[in-house]
Structure formats: C-alpha cells, structure tokens
C-alpha cells in the first residue's frame, strides 16, 4: 500500500468529500486487492457518511480449510457495495455436525447466506488420494455416497433455515494421479470429479435457494499451479495462494449481491469510443470502427456482452453526447452493429449534462437511480456521474477497449443466480414500452392509441407455473396496488386450497410483444358479497385501461356466481397514489372511511362495468 494514497483518502474523508473518497477506496482495492488494503477499506467505509445507508447481512462459513484470510477481502468488497457483512466461521470439517445439530453455531448465527467450502481432498478423499488403487465400482460408490450424504444435509438445512446455501464444487488436481493416461480414460480421475460436480449441480437445482460456486473454474481461471500454495496448505491448511484470495472473495460477492437484492437492473451506455470506436459526428458512418476486424472487434465484443445482458433481463439505455440523428443512423444502419435501437428502452442522445440524462432515464424506466450501471470510456464523464449520483454503479474501465468486454462480463452488479421467464423477457419488454410511448405520442386520440395497441388479455386461476411470479408481484408491486398485502408462495398455496379464496392472474400482449403476467387479483367469498383482498398491476401496463378490463371481468365472474356486491379496501401508502382513484373511477361507492383506508362497494344488481372494446379477451 502506498502511504500517499492513504493520506489523500484520509484527508478527503476529513473534508467530507464522500463520493471521491469512496471512489478512491474502490480503486485502491480493485487495483491492489491485498489484505492490508482490505483492512484499510473496512476501517474507512464507516466514516463515509454520504447519507446512503449500508445494509447489514450475516454470512456463516462451513469449511474444510483455512478460509479466514478471504474474509477481510470479502467484507471490503461487500462494503463497497453498501453491505455490512457480519461473518462467522465454523471449525474445520465440522459442517455435518453444524447442519445436524439444531443448536449449532450455524443456526445460532441465523445467517442470510451459508457457505459450504469443502475441498475435493476432504469430500472425495479416496478419489483424490488413492485413485490408482480404486476399481470403477469404488469410484462410483464414493461419488454416490458423498452425494447422498450431502443431499441429506441439504434437506435438513432447508427444513431449519431460510438462508441461501452456497456450495463450492470440487476442483481437479493440478496433475491427475495417472498423468496423461487419465485423459485417455473415460473412467479416469478427472472424469470422476467432473461427474461428481455434475451430480452436485443437478442436486442443488432440486432445492430452492441452494447454489453452486464454481470453485474449479475459479482455480482454472488463474491457473491451478498459481492458485494452489502447497507450502501454506501443509503448514497452515490454507490451500489458496495469497495473491489469489481476492478472486474467491469476488466470487462470493457475485453470489451475495443477487441474494441481498443489491442488483443493477439497467445498463446505461455511452456511444462514441464505447459501443464503437471513433466519434460518429466527426468520423461518419464509414469512419467509426465496429465489426469483426480489429479495432472494431474490441467494441463488437463489448456489444456481444451487452446483448447477453439484455437476453437475461438487463434493461439497456443510451446516454450520449451526440446529434441524435447521427447516432441513431449508425445504430440502425451500420452493418457491423450488433446492438440496434430496438434493444434500448430509453435514449438520451443530446448535449445536456449526463447526470441529468441519468436522472431522466431512471424516471422514464420507472426504476431507482441505484438500479443503474454506467459504462463510458471518458473518465471525466465517469467522475461526473460518481460525484453527482453516487448511487449509480460506474464501471471503471481502462483506456484500451480490448479490456471492455471482459470487465463488463466480470462485473458483479449484473450477477444473477436464477432467471425467470419474466427476467429473460424484461430487456425486450422495456424496449417495447418505449415504442408504445412513441405510438402514443403519434396517435390522434387516446382511443385510437388503445386500438392501435391491439391488446389481448388472458385471465387464469393460480397454477404451479404462475405461483412464483404471483408471489413476487405481491411482494414487490408498490404503485398500482390497492391493499399492498404481501404473500409468500406458501401462503398463496394455502389460500388456494380454501374454496372461499380465488386467486387470478392476468397476462397482456399487444402489437409490440408479450407483457407477460402483469396483474393479480385475490378474492374472498363472504356469502352475498365478495371482497377484493388484493388487486395489483405492474406499472408496465398502467394507463392502458387494463385495470378496467380486470375489474369488469371480476365483476362479471362473481355476478354469475350469484354475488350481489363486490367490495374492496383502498389502503393508502407512500407509493400507491396511482391506484387511489381506481374505485371511484369505476363507480364504486364509499361505505367506510377510516384512518387506515376506505372501503368501497359496487352493487352488481344495479350497475355493471363494461369491458373496454379495444381489448380482446383470450381463453387460456
């Protein structure tokens, strides 16, 4: 560590220059991830009081080797992502007792995430040490028994703890015990370990919240010879070389961020010298560099990574200082371009301040500023965003575009441990939303706009396929949500079994594509009347009369079942103003006005709610 760096960071903290100090700490740790730098970052982060609070989180480590030196690095990296980690660590090779004993340190700790860090030599001792003595039956039986033991442990852990469980997979030896002969043998040592890892992966996939950390790939990535420190292993039971510890810490971080929900939802991209080489306004279509030949190939590789992010649900946006027409012309018509305008959900191609553009992009996409990541080749723009909007994850990239693709791919802020159908479609759905808005702006009347959307709606009762999405919507929908009641999958399953409860989901598609499952209604039958326990709708479809179609369908359904009144509460929160006038807008009358909210009633014998004629109702 360079003491001048320390002095300058410490004095920035004293002067209250929080953003600058935080950025310098990040730079220090990323450029030189040593243990003293980690300790330094850990002690300084609490002094940065920029008003954005850090979230505490507990992690428990079960392990078969000395893992302690990884922890300061993990804590420091997590701290930079505003997570204050409290870590506890079990004894060597005691993970079975820790999981089996309900009073163990593991359960007393009550962590949000538990890690099982075991090595091949501990979990598969015969395959690791005595492979040449084993028959293929011996090999199969060691794999089978170890998997069976682990399965038993996972089941017990799952029944006792809500924590996510992260399991290391098994690394290959540097040199297999039979040397190059092993590569010729389909029943060799390397293949045995690969087979174990495949079985471990399939098993983990059967349980919710159980994930695999690809430890073998981590070692392979730096090189097994560099990764493994035989001297430290033999003297201190620490197998990982000191200069590789940070790779493991960063891998833990990548798993931690999706578990704690500290994720970026959108990537905001600069254009000139980032998505392509050169400046479109000066170099023109022929002059910019993008395509399969170097140097355009470096930018094409970056576009490939960005498209991969889009394909797993990351929303894309552009924030560029350019003439909009020039830049759109390049994105639309340049033959080397992989990313097209239709991939982007928000475009800010203008000459205004990029920080202002960022705010507008967040508002347009209806997501928090802290959900944005930013990639720009220009260090001045990066600094501007960092100082003005410290919540934005600004990707630090060097001057040479050759490194851009790899850095973005390796960035933890877009790491995901699972992917739903909705996630896969999200990038597309947001981009389609922008096209809808453009159509809206061009439509002569609002009805024309609704008709031009060619909306189709589907209503379905709750099913195993939609359970997770319905629970997720009740958990996170804040704006168009009449009662903001949160339900877990288990609670919904219980309600579904009771004939007095009905749970419906609604899906909408239109001319631009599928919006997916976007609304949920939960009804409670109370004899002559039916109460709307929950009615919520994703903000994605607000302002398109979808809510009218929903209430019309529900009214029709319960009326046919002989119900006389349909009623429901509006419970105001800080965020659900968009739903405030829903009941009066649909001619419900107020029957109760209490501090917590109002009860509204609709007499089905006297009035009805007509279904918007621009929406087509489809049967499932």
């Amino acid at each position: 560590m360079i003491s001048s760096t320390i002095e300058s960071i410490d004095s920035a903290i004293e002067r209250g220059e929080w953003s600058g100090a935080r950025a310098s700490l990040q730079q220090l740790l990323e450029s030189s991830p040593t243990l003293s730098n980690a300790q330094y970052v850990i002690t300084r982060l609490p002094k940065i009081q920029d008003g954005i609070s850090a979230v505490p989180f507990k992690v428990f480590f079960m392990r078969s080797f000395t893992l302690e030196p990884v922890l300061p690095l993990f804590k420091a990296f997590a701290g930079l992502h505003r997570l204050t980690l409290e870590t506890s660590i079990g004894e060597f090779n005691t993970y079975s007792q820790e999981i089996l004993d309900p009073k163990s340190a593991l359960y007393r700790c009550d962590p949000g995430m538990a890690v099982l860090a075991a090595q091949t030599r501990d979990l598969l001792p015969n395959i690791w040490n005595r492979f040449t003595e084993l028959s293929s039956e011996d090999v199969h039986s060691e794999i089978g028994q170890t998997i069976a033991n682990l399965r038993n442990l996972i089941q017990i852990f799952r029944s006792r703890s809500q924590a996510s469980l992260l399991m290391h997979n098994m690394e290959m030896p540097i040199v297999p015990s039979a040397g190059i002969l092993d590569s010729q043998n389909p029943d060799g040592q390397m293949e045995a370990i690969r087979r174990f890892n495949r079985e471990l992966l399939s098993m983990a996939a059967e349980y919710s919240g159980v994930y695999i950390l690809d430890y073998d790939n981590l070692a392979a990535r730096t090189g097994r010879e560099r990764w493994h420190d035989e001297r430290k292993w033999l003297t201190m039971r620490m197998p990982i070389a000191a200069d590789c510890l940070h790779f493991l810490a960063q891998e833990y971080l990548k798993c931690l961020l999706p578990i704690t929900g500290k994720l970026c939802k959108a990537l905001v991209c600069d254009l000139d010298n980032t998505l392509w080489g050169g400046v479109i306004g000066e170099d023109g279509m022929e002059g910019i560099r993008i395509g399969s030949e170097y140097p355009g190939a470096a930018h094409l590789a970056l576009q490939r990574v960005i498209l991969d992010l889009y394909n797993r649900g990351v929303i894309l946006a552009v924030n560029s200082k350019n003439n909009s027409a020039d830049a759109l012309e390049a994105l639309t018509n340049h033959p080397g371009m992989l990313l097209k305008p239709h991939h982007f959900a928000a475009l800010r191609i203008n000459w205004q301040d990029k920080a202002q553009n960022m705010r507008e992009i967040a508002a347009e996409l209806n997501i928090g500023i802290d959900s944005l990541a930013f990639i720009d080749d220009n260090p001045v723009e990066r600094e501007r965003i960092r100082l003005e909007l410290p919540e934005v994850a600004v990707l630090e990239i060097p001057a040479d575009p050759i490194y851009y693709a790899q850095i973005l791919r390796d960035s933890p802020v877009f790491a995901r441990l699972s992917l739903s159908h909705e996630d896969k479609e999200r990038g597309k759905m947001y981009a389609e939303q922008r096209q809808r808005l453009e159509l809206h702006q061009n439509a002569a009347s609002i009805e024309d706009y609704y008709r031009s959307l060619k909306m189709q709606m589907e209503i379905n009762p709750l099913s195993p396929m939609t359970l997770a999405r319905i629970a997720q919507l009740t958990q996170k929908t804040n704006q168009f949500n009449l009662t903001t009641r949160r339900y877990t999958e288990q609670q919904l399953e219980e309600m579904d079994k009771d004939p007095n409860w009905d749970i419906y989901s609604f899906s909408v598609r239109d001319v631009f594509g599928d919006n997916g499952l976007i609304a949920v209604a939960i009804l409670h039958n109370e004899g002559d009347s039916v109460e709307i326990d929950t009615l919520l709708m994703s903000c994605r479809v607000i302002g398109r009369t979808v809510e009218t179609a929903i209430i019309s369908l529900l009214a029709e359904k319960v009326k046919r079942a002989g119900t006389i009144t349909l009623q429901g509460w509006f419970l105001p929160t800080k965020k659900n103003a968009p739903a405030e006038t829903f009941y009066p807008d649909h001619r419900f009358t107020k029957v109760k006005d209490e501090e917590s909210g109002q009860l509204w009633k609709f007499d089905l014998t006297k009035d009805n709610i007509s279904f918007p004629d621009w929406i087509e109702l489809c049967s499932a």
């Binding site: 560590m1 003491s3 040593t34 730098n37 302690e68 030196p69 620490m238 000191a242």
Partner: protein, 75 residues
C-alpha cells in the same frame, strides 16, 4: 528506524487496525491485542506479498514481534 522496519510497522498497523504511531520496532503480539493466530496468518501472507518472499515455517512461528520479522525479511 530503517525503511524495512517502517514498512513492517505500516503493515502491522493496518492488519491489526491500530494507529500507526502506536506501532514500534519492539511491538509484538503481547502489546497488540488483535495479533492472534489468524491475524498472524494474515500478517505473514501480507508480508510475503509485500516483500516478495516465502518464510520458512520455523521462522513463521517466531515472527510474533516487529524486530524478529525485520530480521526474517533480511535473512
């Protein structure tokens, strides 16, 4: 204080989170509270990286004060 001693004190101060001006050539695991066996392991790892050196296991067991550490680095 020579340069090696100074660098060792600097590392001891950050690893064990004690103010730099409280770490001297005769500071040891007896005077620094956080200097336990796991802290010692981290200190050794950091010293090996900083001075690009591998210490013999017999030396590691004795390096519980700044003076001995400086000698081991010079050896």
């Amino acid at each position: 204080m020579n340069e090696t001693t100074d660098r060792v004190c600097e590392i001891v101060s950050t690893i064990f989170n004690v103010p730099r001006n409280e770490v001297h050539a005769d500071s040891s695991s007896k005077t620094i509270e956080n200097w336990d066996s796991m802290g010692h392991l981290m200190l050794i790892l950091e010293l090996e990286q900083e001075f690009d050196k591998q210490f013999a296991p017999e030396d590691v067991e004795k390096m519980y004060d700044v003076n001995t550490i400086v000698k081991a680095i010079g050896a």
